[in-house]
Amino acid sequence: MLKRIKKIPLILLLIGCFCFPQTVHAETEDELALDPIVWENPETGYKVFLEDDAQLLSPENRTQLAAEMQQITAYGNVVFKSISYNSYSASFYAGDFYHDTFGQSSGTLFLIDMDNREIYIFSDGAVYKTITTSYANTITDNVYGYASRGDYYGCASNAYQQIHSLLAGRKIAQPMKYINNALLALIFAALINYFLAKLLSANAAKPSSSEILSAISTKFTFSNPRKQKISQDKIYRPLSSSSSSSSSHHSSGSHRSSGSHRSSGGHRSGGGGGHRF
């Protein structure tokens, strides 16, 4: 029964596609590729948005990918975006595009940036609490190989599957993370252990002068101490009031925030991770 309910949005989408065949036929194939697919989950109000500007997907792939993306709308908006020109970084474009499309609403975006040869996952809102930057990095690490081989559908499809798995509370394979951490753990352990071994084998430090003196017999008396003033120097050295103020003005000049780009500033939420391909 549950499976049937899950299939309803897919059926609705396919019906939607087939119900308006005349508009598809009226356009050229190139124009068809540029048309975004937009679908809204009637239960949650979250949307699927698929826009393949770089024309990386075949029409069948687009339809199929859009259907796969729908399952994520249970948690938030889901966007696929491919671009062939980008004058910014993939991370900036992804965040900016998502906010322009959905504002601060919860959701995730998968970007294929052909200009920077980079895939990027951006998430915001409740989805970002699950698809964190580290998970975005992990997923893009797991799927960048598809993009390298030109299988963009496989790349996006796998990314969405892993995003959905995480949102549904399941685990995803993170082999690269474990390899990374195993390597680092071994290096750190080797060095820490070396210092530990040295520490545990160390001898007491050489005794200080005071320890040496306390072990011998000493006497010290200083009688008739006298202090006689013999001369005085007087130098004019007024207290300067400006010397310390110059440095304090430094910080008030130009404050650069890494978050302020072409948008009108303001708070920018969300985040993500990516990988070159």
């Binding site: 352990a189 530990l196 545990l200």
Partner: protein
């Protein structure tokens, strides 16, 4: 040998009672009551048996004539040649206070912490090899008596003016520092004697040879002038510091920046010839191949200093065990991208390389005994002044570093490979993982080399004392 007046048995010094005690009839005698004909105090010399190691030339002295079967300095199990010699009589001695059992307990307590030490060092048979040896020390005394005149100044501000008042400071000093002790044996490394110091010289007793019965003694072969300047410097600095703390002078800064000779004149420092003394040390050597490790316990205070090598197998096992929680912690806290992993590996490789060079520098210094002034004095007595000034802190030539192996190559190759990957900047993560694995291998190989070098550092070259009778081919 000191004969028991009761049964003719051998009287030996008993630490627990601080008396001479017969092993057979348990008779106890005051050490000052039992003397040989030539032990008389007016005689500046006394008879000892000198045992010489045929391998290293190390000499130990004893009042017994029984055969010594191993050398404490090089660890050789061999019959030491012996001959009777007359030695200069020390003025004072600190008799052993710590029994062999207490010494072993102190050593075991230290080794309990040393979890990476080879098991042999904790073995009962090895620990039983502790030998009580009296080490010769020069005990210097310094006196300062007379009228002292120093310069001082006080600086303060009033409005826009800074005032400096200059003062003449004076007073009468009467200070004394007695029995500042320095190791007088070139065969007993300064690095060891410093670590088991200080001896509490308040426990010093007038020397009589019978204190040596049952123990050995090392020979004093370092010139008494060697440490004289150190003693004077310490006494001058201590007195000057005490003068500064006088209530009358607290608001004044003493400005005398006098060199040691003139400060000695100001403070009327007098340092006569030092006294010969003997201090008790429990001594044990552990020989492995061409290296020897020493364990020493201060025979008066029980302070332990030991050369403790690291067992490679234990180290590797410990590394793997430690890697597990580190791995879990990293998984919990971080997700590093492959490029960042490579950066971290690169930084760790650089760190390891620096560590290697630092360790090699120490090893070179220890092996060349550049900071052992007693040894340097003996080795270069023809080339340097009486204070061994020319030897101690000089730079180690780069060729010496290379003699100690090429363990740095692992980290160096890892660094170069990582830099090459960053320049090449490939897309595939496999390059970065490959680089990180290479860095790991490089770092581990260098760390292993460091541990091997540390083990060299924790042990010593087999000594060659270049005394008559010493021959390492024997």
């Amino acid at each position: 040998m000191y004969e028991c007046p009761n049964c003719g048995g051998n009287l030996k010094f008993d630490i627990a009672t601080q008396q001479l005690k017969c092993d057979y009839c348990l008779t106890q005698k005051d050490p000052y009551e039992i003397t040989k004909e030539k032990d008389a105090e007016e005689n500046n010399l006394f008879d000892v048996t000198v045992f010489t190691c045929p391998q290293c030339g190390g000499e130990i002295l004893s009042t017994d004539t029984s055969i010594a079967e191993f050398c404490s300095f090089c660890g050789a199990s061999t019959i030491l040649t012996s001959r009777i010699r007359q030695e200069k009589r020390p003025s004072y001695i600190i008799p052993f206070q710590q029994t062999k059992a207490a010494c072993k307990q102190a050593y075991i307590a230290k080794m309990r912490r040393a979890i990476f030490a080879p098991d042999e060092l904790k073995h009962e048979k090895y620990i039983d090899g502790f030998r009580g040896i009296y080490i010769p020390y020069w005990a210097y005394s310094v006196s300062q008596k007379g009228s002292v005149h120093l310069k001082g100044e006080k600086t303060y501000r009033k409005g826009d003016y800074v005032y400096t008042d200059h003062y003449d400071l004076s007073g009468d000093i009467d200070a004394g520092y007695h029995d500042l002790s320095y190791d007088a044996s070139s065969s007993f490394s300064d690095t060891i004697s410093e670590k088991i110091a200080p001896f509490d010289v308040k426990g010093t007793k007038r020397f009589t040879p019978s204190f040596l019965s049952g123990f050995y003694a090392d020979t004093a072969d370092v010139d008494s002038r060697l440490y004289r300047n150190d003693v004077i410097r310490l006494a001058n600095a201590t007195s000057l510091d005490a003068i500064r703390k006088q209530a009358e002078f607290r608001d004044v800064t003493i400005t005398d920046k006098k060199t040691a000779p003139s400060l000695s004149n100001t403070l009327h420092t007098v340092c006569p010839s030092p006294e010969r003394t003997l201090y008790p040390v429990w001594f044990m050597s552990y020989r492995k191949g061409d290296r020897v490790a020493y364990a020493t316990v201060n025979g008066q205070t029980g302070k332990v200093a030991a050369d403790i090598p690291i067992d490679i197998r234990k180290y590797l096992l410990g590394t793997i065990l430690l890697a597990l929680p580190v791995f879990l912690l990293l998984n919990f806290l971080f997700t590093f991208k492959p490029a960042f992993t490579l950066v971290l590996s690169l930084l760790l490789a650089v760190f390891t390389l620096v560590l290697y060079l630092v360790e090699i520098n120490q090893i070179c210094r220890q092996d060349l005994r550049t900071e052992d002034r007693g040894f340097q004095f003996k080795q270069f007595s023809n080339e340097t002044d009486s204070e061994g000034k020319n030897h101690g802190k000089e730079k180690i030539p780069p060729t010496e570093f290379l003699k100690y192996g090429k363990g740095f190559l692992g980290s160096l190759i890892a660094i170069l490979l990582a830099i090459w990957i960053f320049i090449f900047n490939p897309v595939s993560d496999l390059w970065y993982y490959g680089g990180a694995i290479a860095s790991l291998a490089g770092v581990l190989s260098t760390v292993m080399a460091i541990i091997q070098k540390y083990n060299v550092l924790a042990t010593r070259k087999l000594p060659q004392f270049d005394r008559k009778g010493g021959d390492d081919r024997a």
